[in-house]
Each structure stands twice: as C-alpha cells, then as structure tokens.
Amino acid sequence: MSAKPDQPYLLRKHKTEEWIGRGYTTICVMFLIVIIISIVYFVASKGITTFTKDGVSVSEFLFGTRWSPDDNHFGAFPFIYGSFLTSLLAAAIASPLSICAALFMTEIVPTWGKKLLQPVIELLAGIPSVVYGFIGLSILVPVLRDTFPGQGIGVAAGAIVLSIMILPTITSIATDALSSLPRNLKEASYGLGSTRWQTIKGVVLPTVMPSILTGVVLGMARAFGEALAVQMVIGNAPHVPSSLFESASTLTSVITLNMSNTVMGTAQNNALWSMALILLLMTFVFIFVVRLLERRHRL
C-alpha cells in the first residue's frame, strides 16, 4: 500500500479500501478474459489435430459426405448440413410466430397483451432443453409418424422442437424494438388515414426490421448450438437426408453421442473436436452478423 505513514488515518483507510475493491473486481474481470482465451485456445488446438496429425484435408472434412471412422473417412458434411438445415428451418418457423406475438403485445392489444404473453414467453424460455426433447419425442414424433412418411424422427421434428425453443429469444428482442418505436411515426401514418395493418406493414415493420433480424440471428445461433433436444428427435443417421422426414444428424448430436464412446487422441475423437471448433467459429460468425446489423440500425 502506497499510503505514506504521515498521511492521516482516514485517508490511509480510504486508500486501502479503494485498493482492495479495485483489485478484487479487476481480478474477476481478468478471470473472464482468461476463460475465453483458454476456451478458444484449447478447443482450437485440439480441433486442428485432425488436419495436422491425422492428415485429413480441410476440404474433405468440410465437404466430404462419407463418415465412416473405421475406414478413415471423415467427411463431416452431413452434420454441418444438418446443423444449418435445422437451425434455418427453425428460424423460418419461429420468426413469423414471434413477430405476431410481438405485434400482439405492442400494437394489437397493448393493454393486456403483454400481461398475457410475457409470462408465457418467460416460461417457454425457462423450460429445460431435455424437457423439450422429451415432449418432442413423446408428442411430436408420433404425430409426424402418423401424418407423413417415415419414422417421425428426423429433420422436421428437430426443426419444430428448436423453433419453439428459440421463440422466446426472437419475441423478446422484437417486442423491445417495437415498444421503443417513436409514437409520432405511427401517428403520422394513422393521420394519413391508414388502417392498423397498413401502418404495421408500411411503417412499423420496415423501421424495426434490423432489430428483428438481430433477434432471428441470435435465435439461429441458439438453435445451432443446442445439443440434447435435437439429438433426441433427429434420429442420428450419419448421412445427408433426402427428405425432411428422414433421420439425420447435427454437429452437436454427433458430439453428444460419440464423445464418451471414443478414446481421447484417436482420429475419430479428434474429428469430434474439429466439429466443436466449427461450432465455436460459427458463434463468432453469428456475433459478427449481429454487430453488423446493430451498426446499420444505429445509422
């Protein structure tokens, strides 16, 4: 402590307190930074061994469609494709629903809409993912099996389960954007004699579109990284599905199923770490897109 002995007692106490407080909080923040650097470093260094040690080429890993670790074929394309397909479909299903929910809360019945839907959205966000998986497996899959060809499990089931899981993300961001919209924009539109729908379609939605897109991207990011709920309903077949009702896999489902069955350091295990690295890199891509959208919104 740098306080000199001839400083008055109170000032010395003051400085010590300050030093402890600042030191403690700085350590906590440093901890965050150390964690993120070590996550990126460890996952990346393990993930690239597939390419450096096991001699799998990057293009074979990314675009090869044949996944049979027993005869050294590590094409992860079916899983990458599955991840993108399910999360895009989930966003496509969830976005219209979320926008309707947000409009219901802010434009249609602002008086009691929020009181009704807000708790519903919060509860949907709070339900654990394994419970979504269980419900998907015991309600959704039988329904799909009876209505469509196939076994019920597959891309469609995964996408529907994911869409309900990301509903809260998109809805809450859309609602925030809609309720921070300046009143005068809407009033100008009503003043010109527009109906409510014309106002929503012509003024409200175009103005908040960048924010809604932010919500959609964040929802997609969540869907992309979700593991157990998808794994339970997607069927886990390691090939590119030819229809939505056919069994498939995602990056997360393959990792979940195989990580504990393979030995650390083997080529198959390393390939799983490479998939984890793809998940990690996609997180950065999603955040980059969100930042771009936010920047455009600010202008």
């Binding site: 965050l32 964690i35 993120i36 219901f104 014309q198 998940l279």
Partner: protein, 295 residues
C-alpha cells in the same frame, strides 16, 4: 382486397398466432403434468433408479441437482458480482471496456456443449478433477458468469446518481459507496437475476454430460462427512443430475417404465423451474419494499 378487410384479416392472423403460442405452452405443461404428476410420490422422489427393473426413483439425481446448484452459486456469485461491479463502476468508456463487453457477449453465446467439452479437456483431464460435482460446478460457473455480470451491471446502473453523489460528498471511498450505498439498492434486481440464473443451472444438461458425468456411484444418505467417498456431500464424486437423467432414460433407458420415469422427472424439473421463477419475482419485490420503504 379492401384495406379494411385486409386489416381485419391481418389482425385475425396475428391474434390467432399469439393465442397459438399460449396454447403450445399450456399444452406442453398440461401434458407434462398429467403424465408426470401421477407418477410422482415419496418413493419416486427418494429411491435410487433401477436399470432393468420397474419402480426406479430419482432420489440421488434430485439431490445431485440441488447440491450442484449450491456449489455453482458459491463460485458464481462472488465472481459475477465482482466483474459486474467493475463493469458498472470502474470501467472507463474505452477500447478495453468494449473488448470486455464483447467477451461477455461471446461467452454467453457459446453453445453449452462447447463449454462442456472445454471442461472435459481442461478441468476433468488437465486439472485432474475427473468426472465430479466440482468439475460440473466450474463449467456451470463459466456458463453462468455472463448472465451474472450483466444482471449486476444493470442493477448498479439503475441506482440513481444522487445517491452516489451524496456518498462522495460525505468523503467516502468509492468501494465504501459501492458496498454500503449502491449494493443494498441494487440487491433486489441482483437477487431476481441470480435466482433466474439458478433456474437455468438446474435445467442444464449438455455441459454436464462430460464434466459431472452420467453415473452416480452408490451414495449413503446417512454419511454426511464431505471427505468420505460415499458421502452425498463429497464434491469430488461423479454425479448424474436430474436433467442428465431424463436425457439418459430417454435415449438409452431399458427399464420397462422408462417413459413414466422420464415424464415424472420432467414434471419435477418443470415444477422446480416454476418455483424458481415465482421465487425470483416474490423475493425481488419483497426486498425492494424492505430496502426502499415503499409500501
């Protein structure tokens, strides 16, 4: 179509979808409760699971979930509070602060399975903690930190300027102002946020598969010495939580009543999450009244 007709049709569609979402939630909750509640009794909540026979319970899993939650919160709360206070009170508006904000954002968007894999690599293998409650708690801390930081920062920022300036005028140090003026005012929001974060911990499974493990060794509920291997309180034993158990029963359960067990366990999990939600609201409001003397 006439504009007025179009307006009516569009309004109808929006209302329909909004109510559809309500119906989805009620349908899911109803299904879980109807299927699950009939299976829940004292025996189910306290007895150990069975692999191939009927009549298994979820006793150890329920205990593991609660104990893991306590361990996680013991690590998360001090760290999250500290980092949040730094962001709200000490961080200057510069490049470094922007970077830290980005770090928090990235950390909160990492898929939980990636955080779990990191735990497997570093905490389980390099630190040598093995599949244990402690490894699970550390991974969940990483998973939970961003939320705690954000909640704390918001809570501290919501305190009015005048209260802080009054403290400065009294000649208090910044840290003294934080701990004795700002913290009590910010506490209701922090408590609400912390309980909601706890609810998330309770339902998390993907990050725990490879850290807390998928099995529970035989534990004796009459031995409460944390140093004994078979004690429920030993933080270095593997522990399958309730959420992991639901996943395992669904994907590889071979007991004849696997479906009932999954339904019952899901009902317990959902009820716990509901309790956390209600508790967060109630406690937040109660503390707010107590500290601000607003009736």
């Amino acid at each position: 179509m006439k504009p007025k007709t179009a307006d009516k049709v569009a309004t109808g569609i929006i209302v329909f979808f909004a109510l559809f979402i309500v119906a989805i939630l009620l349908g899911m909750l109803g299904y879980i409760m109807v299927r699950g509640l009939s299976h829940i009794d004292w025996h189910f909540l306290t007895s150990p699971p069975q692999t191939i026979k009927e009549g298994g319970g979820i006793g150890p899993q329920l205990f593991n979930s609660l104990y893991l939650l306590v361990l996680t919160m013991i690590i998360t709360i001090p760290l999250g509070l500290g980092a949040g206070i730094y962001m709200a009170e000490y961080a200057k508006p510069n490049r470094l602060t922007d970077t830290i904000r980005l770090v928090v954002e990235v950390l909160s968007s990492f898929p939980s399975i990636v955080v779990g894999l990191f735990g497997l690599l570093v905490i389980v293998n390099v630190f040598g903690l093995g599949f244990s409650l402690m490894s699970g708690a550390m991974v969940l801390t990483i998973f939970n930190m961003p939320l705690m930081v954000r909640v704390t920062e918001q809570a501290f920022r919501s305190v009015s300027r005048e209260q802080k300036e009054a403290g400065l005028a009294m000649g208090l140090s910044k840290w003294k102002i934080i701990t004795s003026i700002l913290f009590p005012v910010a506490l209701p929001i922090i408590v609400t946020g912390t309980i909601l974060a706890a609810g998330r911990v309770f339902g998390e499974a993907a990050a725990l598969l490879f850290t807390a493990g998928m099995t529970t060794p035989r534990i004796h509920f009459d031995d409460w010495n944390p140093l004994h291997a078979a004690s429920p309180l030993n933080p270095f034993r593997p522990a399958e939580t309730l959420a992991v158990h639901i996943w395992k029963v669904n994907s590889e359960g071979i007991a004849p009543d696997a479906l009932e067990i999954a339904a019952g366990a899901s009902a317990v999990l959902v009820i716990m999450v509901l309790i956390f939600n209600l508790l967060a609201r109630w406690l937040g409001r109660a503390l707010y009244r107590k500290f601000t003397s607003i009736k």
